[in-house]
């Protein structure tokens, strides 16, 4: 265990010791590697499929990390933004609202067959922007009632919103505010328009590479946003709020604004990934928007290292792979080899749970801990909200 820790630490130290230009060169090399990676695999194969999902999960996880990791607001209802992002593309990128414009549809920036379909069809990029905006607004709305709450009370209120939005997704077919149903209920909205992006042709089930590159682009954007914000005035304010809300307010950090910006940023990234997932799965399935999804993403960031940007990416990739690749494939073939007579795929989420426990007990601070958190562990520094002035006895 300490060996692992030392290994990571020595890598970190070695990295810090490098010349900035060398670091930059390595960064570019890694980037090029990831861009050309799909050429070495089957265009419609499982590798690219898994890699695409992992990247999209990384976007989700980076978004949640802004809320939980940076600002310290425990959000258990992150699935809400997956749902809202997915519905944004369901609303603006499918034939769901077929009656719009007398059945002729509404088209912006779409070509080919899609341009003839009824319903609202916006270009994928426009939809992504819309998803970010819709989710950021909802992030603020959901954040508002939690502002005066602390710690686990925030958790339960966000959880409640997540569940409510999940319920609306399932029952939304009976909600018709202006004669238009909010969702398609359990039927789901399908098909979803294939993205129509310049330079990337043929998004479809046979060639997954454009999907991969889109996901990679979104992940890079999320990384960029995360790094820039972490090292900014706002990022410092988030960490200050996380460490000690009272001191932060006394030092001039406006709590409401700071927290709401964290919610909005995190929600925006989640919504972007949500819209992507809906397009990728070619459906907005209301039954997916469950609490366990929130927990899945939360597990990624805690496992990876709360607040640590690279850690979160690592956590997302590891859990995504365990979820989509490792368990169904590896374990399905295992029993025959070792002579067990029951199907281990039945045990998939039990094994998932077991791995969560093992990984957490072995590396409680996460795979790649945030530098700050490492210290928090060794020094036993709490989150600072239990220490109240002694004279105050309420």
């Amino acid at each position: 265990m300490t060996a692992i820790r030392d290994f990571f630490r020595s890598i970190g130290d070695a990295w810090d010791g490098l010349h900035p230009n060398v670091r930059r060169a390595i960064g570019v090399a890694v980037l090029v590697f990831f861009i050309v990676l799909p050429f070495f695999f089957t265009a419609g194969g499982t590798f690219i499929d898994n890699a695409t999902r992992a990247l999209a999960y990384a976007v989700m996880a980076l978004g949640l990390n802004v809320v939980v990791g940076f600002a310290g607001l425990l959000d258990l209802g992150y699935v809400a933004f997956y749902a809202l992002g997915a519905f944004t593309i369901g609303w603006f990128g499918s034939s769901f609202y077929a009656q719009v414009n007398h059945g002729k549809g509404l088209h912006i920036g779409v070509t080919g067959v899609t341009g003839q379909l009824p319903g609202i069809h916006f270009n994928f990029l426009l939809v992504l922007v819309a998803a970010v905006i819709v989710c950021a607004i909802f992030g603020v709305l959901i954040g508002l009632p939690t502002l005066r709450l602390r710690g686990d009370y925030i958790a339960i209120v966000t959880l409640a919103f997540g569940e409510i939005i999940g319920r609306v997704a399932i029952n939304g077919d009976s909600l018709k505010p202006f004669g238009y149903a909010v969702t398609a209920g359990r039927q789901g909205i399908t098909p979803i328009d294939s993205p129509d992006l310049p330079g990337l042709a043929s998004f479809g089930p046979l060639d997954l590479r454009p999907w991969y590159w889109t996901a990679l682009g979104m992940a890079l954007l999320s990384l960029f946003v995360s790094f820039r914000l972490r090292d900014s005035r706002l990022g410092r304010a988030w960490i200050a709020v996380r460490e000690d809300e009272v001191a932060a307010a006394s030092m001039g950090v406006p709590l409401v604004r700071t927290k709401l910006l964290a919610y909005a940023t995190g929600a925006g990234l989640g919504g972007m990934a949500g819209a992507f997932f809906a397009a990728y799965f070619n459906t907005v399935n209301a039954d997916q928007f469950e609490f366990s999804f929130s927990i899945f993403i939360l597990a990624m960031i805690i496992l990876g290292g709360l607040g640590s940007i690279w850690g979160v990416v690592a956590g997302a990739i590891v859990l995504s792979y365990i979820n989509t690749y490792f368990i169904p494939n590896t374990f399905k073939s295992l029993p025959h080899h070792i002579g067990l007579n029951f199907d281990l795929t039945d045990l998939s989420f039990g094994i998932f749970g077991f791995l969560l426990v093992i990984m957490m007990v072995l590396r409680p601070q996460g795979l790649i801990p945030e530098r700050r958190r490492k210290l928090e562990l060794t020094e036993g520094v709490g989150a600072g909200d239990s220490e109240m002035p002694i004279e105050v006895s309420v």
Partner: protein, 370 residues
């Protein structure tokens, strides 16, 4: 115990200094504040009563009398008794180590499964005589309680204790991990679909009819087990030496350690008590609903945790109150609105309660009650 801070960091955000840059006045009795005060005092009561009162009014308007709404509330209370028992487990554990024990709902599910299994083992079926059934229920209940209690203690030992000094959220993930493991155990045990349970207590049998409200066997069972258990538990926590140790640890683990309290044992005891209650709740659930399912604990856990927070987490009485309130909201919603909306309505209530009373219904007492 999370000390509810009194710092008021947010209020009056509407009023900037610019607006206030006027000579000091002695008082600022704005009507805005009066409304705020009124809402903070009575808002919650209004919110809680809105649903039952609205339907009562509509019943009366249609000439149906009080029977229907009272029947709803009666069902709600007996159903809520189960949530109350599960919620106690959340609140005890949260009170002492500030952890949302996500595996707790699944421990409750195991309670139902063990009860069911015990009837099979003991050979208690619909053909068994009354005495045999009662004996079978008592034995099965006792074993389910012990099984859940031990399971809970084991989970703490394996998944939480090693992480006691880890970041606060680390044990949350191991809790989720154990929740998955237990669900999978349930799945392997009885399969993925609903599993019928013999209606051993003749649950729907109407015992008495008080002014149109039908008291059925299931009600008597739920209330009859919950009340004594809760009373015993409260008495234990408040009066016994171990209970005092629990409260001391909840207030300040470090100080408790210095006072010679074995903190590890005390935490184990807390998990044991929570597990016992969950086991009893599992038994009642199986008899009350006559079906069990491997993922019943997931929803129950969510509801019970909501109940615990609603009542003011860390507070025993609050957990019971929260459970009963949620039971009533669920019943009214199931019966009057639509059961597919029920979870959304329960959670909307939770949000409203958090807005009006951020510490939960009985949250302020947490400090004294430990």
């Amino acid at each position: 115990m999370p000390a509810p801070p009194d710092f008021d960091l947010h209020s009056d955000s509407e009023r900037g200094l610019e607006a206030a840059s006027i000579p000091v006045r002695a008082t600022r009795a704005a009507p805005f504040e009066a409304i705020q005060r009124f809402l903070s005092r009575y808002g919650l009561i209004i919110v809680l009563l809105a649903l039952p009162l609205a339907f009562m009014a509509s019943d009366l308007a249609h000439g149906h009398g009080f029977a229907h709404i009272l029947e709803n509330l009666k069902d709600g209370v007996s159903n809520g008794a189960i949530w109350a028992l599960v919620a106690i487990g959340y609140t005890l554990v949260y009170g002492i180590i500030e952890l949302i024990n996500f595996a707790h709902g699944d421990v409750f599910m195991i309670g139902s499964f063990v009860s069911f299994g015990m009837w099979g083992t003991l050979g208690v079926t619909l053909g068994t005589g009354t005495l045999g059934r009662v004996g079978g229920l008592i034995v099965a209940g006792a074993i389910a309680m012990i099984a859940c209690g031990s399971l809970n203690v084991m989970i703490e030992r394996v998944a939480y204790r090693p992480l006691r000094h880890a970041p606060k959220l680390a044990p949350l993930i191991t809790a989720v991990g154990f929740s998955f493991i237990l669900q999978n155990v349930g799945l392997e045990w009885l399969g993925g679909s609903q599993h019928g349970v013999d209606d051993l207590v003749d649950a729907q049998h109407i015992l008495v009819n008080i002014g149109g409200v039908h008291i059925i066997n299931a009600d008597v069972l739920a209330i009859g087990i919950t009340i004594p258990l809760v009373l015993l538990l409260v008495a234990f926590v408040q009066n016994s030496r171990l209970g005092k140790a629990m409260r001391a640890t909840a207030q300040d683990p470090e100080a408790a350690r210095l006072m010679g309290i074995n903190v590890d044992h005390t935490i184990s005891l807390t998990f044991l008590l929570g597990g016992l209650m969950a086991g009893a709740a599992g038994l009642i659930y199986a008899l009350y609903n006559t079906t069990i399912r491997f993922d019943q604990g997931f929803e129950a856990g969510l509801i019970a945790f909501t109940a615990a927070v609603m009542g003011g987490i860390g507070n025993l009485q609050g957990a019971v109150l929260g459970g009963l309130i949620i039971g009533c909201i669920q019943q009214i919603s199931d019966d009057r609105i639509n059961s597919t909306w029920t979870p959304a309505i329960v959670f909307a209530y939770l949000i409203l309660i958090m807005v009006f009373k951020p510490q939960g219904l009985l949250g302020e007492e947490t400090r004294e009650a430990g």
